[in-house]
């Protein structure tokens, strides 16, 4: 059926093209505007999806017209149609349909805010703030974000519950399901709650239809901080190749000072959802970001296409749209010491001022970067303080400290996954950082006057989390941690060298040991090394 429609569509399109050509020739009219990606998507939805989805008199299509989703959400729907319901789509058709549906039935910027961590594939997120029943009902298998990034009518939420049982019928038998009247709960109160929390009709979406759209075309200044590595910064030059489709040229300087340039491309969906992909300095990369409503700030995360845990949050500001301090490298300022401070931003001009007790000597300055030697008096006031460049203020940007009282390891709870070893699923690593802390004037840890000093170098090690982990020698099998705090898990599959031949899973303490003069300060985090994710959808 689908293939037939496809052919029919191609035929219609060909006739249409012929007619257009004929018109051009006869009337010598200016060439018709090329069909945009979204136009193609609309045609494809009408031609292909209507094979199964009934077209109503009002033009709506059953199921499809009664939901709104992110680009990733729509793509996951298409993949489900392809995997389970025999739909066959070329990559180009899939892209066009996602574009059209995200543009016309997407989410408004404000609707995505609580759940952008999922789109950005941030690692080690523990979802919170949701009702426990809803978490057990939905988020025991996938992120709650996958739910919160959809909008549906009540009938459609109910259809989704039916789909879940139809597609995964053991759902009622799983832990956190078999202890309750799952089916009655799912089609009753859960559907009620979802329809209330995430309705199809929402004023935010209505308002977004009328909001002004901004093209990305032009030059942008970007700064990103990659945990364990440091700052990447540089410029992005967007060129719109066709409506909402861009190529991007980047010039970037990494934490090691090495310059990298390259080109990638991407699409702006729904007027604000930027999705880039391509070669990010020798790595297959992805970029997920949201364009601010004024069109001057692009904020999100870039990551390795196959290893999404490896990446960094970034922000990019349209050059010429104003000035901003976007990053401060070297925030930890020790009393009585001299150090180098680098301020990254756009439109930077004017005096650098770090307040009383700190003298500065700018060694290099441009509108995008200021490098300064900083001398901290031995009696400079302790604590976080703001940094000024001309009229710009970066609040609490640096810390003056005399000693490291504690070390906090971030994230304090992380997950890594075994992988590779000939299997289809790569490892998932975990990046840690040691954050030095000061106990404040009262000298007591955990009180209001404590302050963060900043990320410091540490010696990294792992140890069994508890007795069971010690008995299983988890620390010997689960993986290794690098001097930069990057934990690389072990290979996938049964390990004959282990008790029970079990795999390289483990329950570990990650320990950062920091030398502060003669003193040794340590911090710990909890790391679970577990099995592979067997599927890796764009929204977990």
């Amino acid at each position: 059926m689908i293939r037939t429609y496809h052919v029919a569509f191609a035929f219609v399109a060909a006739i249409f093209a012929l007619v257009l050509t004929a018109c051009d020739e006869e009337q010598e009219a200016p060439p018709a505007a090329e069909a945009t990606l979204a136009d193609t998507g609309r045609e494809l939805v009408q031609a292909i999806c209507t094979g199964c989805h009934v077209k109503r008199d009002d033009g709506s299509l059953s199921r499809i017209s009664f939901g709104r989703r992110t680009p990733e959400g729509w793509d996951m729907t298409l993949v489900r149609m392809m995997n389970f319901h025999g739909l066959s789509l070329t990559k180009e058709d899939r892209r066009a349909i996602v574009k059209y549906l995200s543009d016309t039935q997407g989410l408004a910027p404000s609707e995505t805010v609580p759940f952008r961590y999922a789109l950005e594939r941030r690692p080690n997120i523990i979802e919170s703030g949701q009702d426990q029943t809803m978490m057990e009902m939905c988020a025991r298998c996938h992120s709650f974000a996958r739910v919160g990034l959809q909008r549906r009518t009540k009938e459609e939420w109910l259809n989704l519950v039916h789909m879940h049982v139809g597609q995964w019928p053991t759902i009622e038998y799983q832990a956190m399901a078999r202890d309750r009247d799952w089916w009655d709960d799912a089609r009753g109160r859960v559907v009620d709650d979802l329809a209330r929390a995430f309705p199809l009709d929402d004023p935010a979406w209505a308002a977004w239809q009328d909001a002004q759209r901004h093209a990305l075309t032009g030059k942008w200044r970007f700064v990103s901080y990659q945990p364990g590595q440091g700052y990447h910064h540089g410029t992005l030059e967007f060129t719109e190749e066709s409506k909402d489709e861009y190529t991007v040229h980047f010039d970037s300087t990494g934490p090691d000072g090495v310059a990298v340039s390259g080109d990638y491309n991407g699409i702006l969906y729904t007027g604000f959802e930027w999705r880039g992909r391509g070669d990010f300095g020798g790595q297959p990369g992805r970029e997920v970001a949201a364009l601010s409503e004024d069109g001057n700030l692009l904020a999100g995360r870039w990551f390795h296409a196959e290893r999404p845990e490896m990446g960094a949050l970034f922000e990019a500001r349209r050059v010429g749209s104003g000035s901003a301090i976007m990053g401060v490298d070297g925030e930890a300022l020790r009393r009585g010491a001299e150090t180098t401070l680098v301020i990254l931003g756009t439109g930077l001009s004017g005096e650098l001022d770090l307040g009383p007790g700190i003298t500065t000597e700018v060694t290099a300055a441009s509108e995008s970067q200021i490098t300064a030697r900083v001398r901290v008096a031995s009696d400079a006031a302790l604590g976080r303080r703001s940094l000024r460049v001309g009229s710009l203020v970066s609040k609490d940007a640096v810390a003056v400290f005399d000693r490291i009282d504690r070390v906090v390891v971030t994230p304090d709870y992380a997950t890594a996954r075994v992988g590779g070893n000939g299997g289809a699923t790569p490892i998932q690593a975990a990046q840690f950082e040691a954050v030095a802390m000061h106990n404040g004037a009262d000298g007591e840890p955990g009180t209001a006057d404590d302050f963060r000093i900043g990320v410091v170098d540490a010696e990294w090690s792992t140890a069994p989390w508890n007795e069971v982990a010690a008995e299983m020698n988890d620390d010997k099998f689960a993986g290794v941690i690098s001097p930069a705090g990057l934990f690389t898990p072990g290979k996938a599959g049964p390990n004959p060298a282990r008790v029970y031949g079990t795999n390289n899973a483990g329950d570990l303490k990650v320990i950062a040991t920091v030398q502060d003069g003669d003193r040794t300060v340590t911090g710990e985090a909890h790391l679970i090394v577990t099995v592979q994710r067997w599927n890796s959808p764009p929204i977990y």
Binding site: C52, R63, V165, P169, T170, R178, W183, Y500
Partner: protein, 366 residues
């Protein structure tokens, strides 16, 4: 037990009649991915029959056998039931359980009637429409046991609760026991729920509702169906390990009597437990094999095993314990000492995964 007696009587009668005196042997029936069915002679430590289960499905699961041990009914990837004659390898029964072309159905409980003529199947259906799914009421279907390639149910009952995960036939044929939120006693002729034994609604003092789930019926050697039951003691603080006891629930297939024994062990993951033929011991398995006293729940002995196993069964003479599922070996342990005696490995080391492991008496030389 009754079935075994019947077999024994038949054998004695046969011997008395001086027919060719081939004694029935004991075999272990199990299956492996994607579609392998094995008959293993555990005493000889070898696979004596190897069949391919026809049709779709890549994961054999529950296996039930006819009272004469001749037919094994295998649930394939939840979605098909295939009956194979273990003597010939011939398919004698097959259904995808769909009552119409747009249904997709899974099986969550399978049992053979006491006389071997009918197959009871607990089914969870959904209708797959052009653009939507529709969840349908669960049902108990009764099929003719030799229903052939497109077996159609003789009776269908739609009055049962959802969430049932196990069917067990009463030895005298008068009832089907269904395990779900509670244990329901069902009339196989009318589908009527004749009795409900409370599990979720149990009135045990200082105890949370119990949690149990089991897809591996293994009552054949003792006449006791057994399943592990987990719950929380509400009279103890949650950080006290003693607050998480494990019970074994047994159901006597002859009488229907249900009993609980609290196991005297710390909380841990256990997949299955099987009662010894003399009903004195319980053997449990996951990463260790444990032998426990059925009367007191006391741990008699435990040994670590080579890897995790899902199931445990026992020889009819009570001398050997078999652990299987998960990877590609059924390993053999001495029932007294729990010393490992050997293993039968699948050809090519194909995964036994979650396929059941049943003991039958059958004369393969017949």
């Amino acid at each position: 037990m009754l079935r075994r007696c019947a077999t024994l009587v038949a054998v004695i009668v046969a011997m008395a009649l001086a027919l060719p005196a081939a004694l029935a042997g004991e075999y272990l029936v199990t299956a492996a991915k994607p579609n392998n069915l094995y008959v293993m002679d555990m005493k000889a430590r070898e696979i004596v029959r190897s069949y391919t289960i026809p049709g779709d499905g890549t994961a054999p699961g529950t296996i039930v056998t006819s009272p004469d041990g001749r037919i094994a009914y295998v649930v394939m990837s939840y979605r098909r039931i295939v009956g194979i004659d273990l003597m010939t390898g011939k398919t004698v029964f097959e259904t995808d359980m769909a009552r119409s072309g747009d249904e997709r159905v899974i099986n969550m409980g399978l049992a053979v009637s006491a006389d071997g003529t009918e197959l009871y199947s607990y089914e969870v259906p959904a209708r797959i429409g052009l653009d939507r799914y529709e969840v349908l009421p669960v049902r108990l279907s009764v099929y003719p046991a030799m229903g052939g390639n497109f077996a159609e149910p003789l009776r269908v009952f739609s009055n049962l609760p959802r969430r049932i995960h196990m069917l067990i036939t009463k030895a005298d044929g008068s009832a089907i026991y269904a395990l779900g939120w509670d244990i329901y006693t069902i009339d196989p002729q009318t589908g009527e729920i004749m009795d409900t034994f409370p599990l979720r609604n149990w009135t045990r003092e200082n105890a949370s509702p119990p949690d149990l789930l089991n897809f591996w019926p293994m009552e054949e050697q003792s006449g006791l169906f057994s399943t592990l039951v987990y719950y929380q003691r509400t009279d103890l603080p949650p950080d006290d390990m003693a607050a998480y006891p494990t019970d074994v629930l047994t159901l006597d297939v002859a009488t229907g009597e249900i009993k609980f024994t609290t196991l005297q062990i710390p909380p841990q993951v256990i997949f299955t437990g099987t009662v010894s033929p003399d009903r004195k011991n319980l053997y449990t398995i996951y990463t260790k094999l444990m032998k426990l006293d059925m009367e007191t729940g006391a741990l008699i002995k435990e040994v670590p095993v080579d890897h995790s196993y899902y199931q445990v069964n026992v020889s009819g003479d009570g001398k050997e314990v078999y652990v299987g599922g998960t990877m590609c070996d059924v390993s053999i342990y001495d029932a007294e000492t729990l010393d490992k005696l050997g293993a039968v490995t699948t050809p090519g080391c194909v995964d036994l995964a979650t396929a059941a492991m049943r003991m039958i008496d059958l004369d393969l030389e017949e």
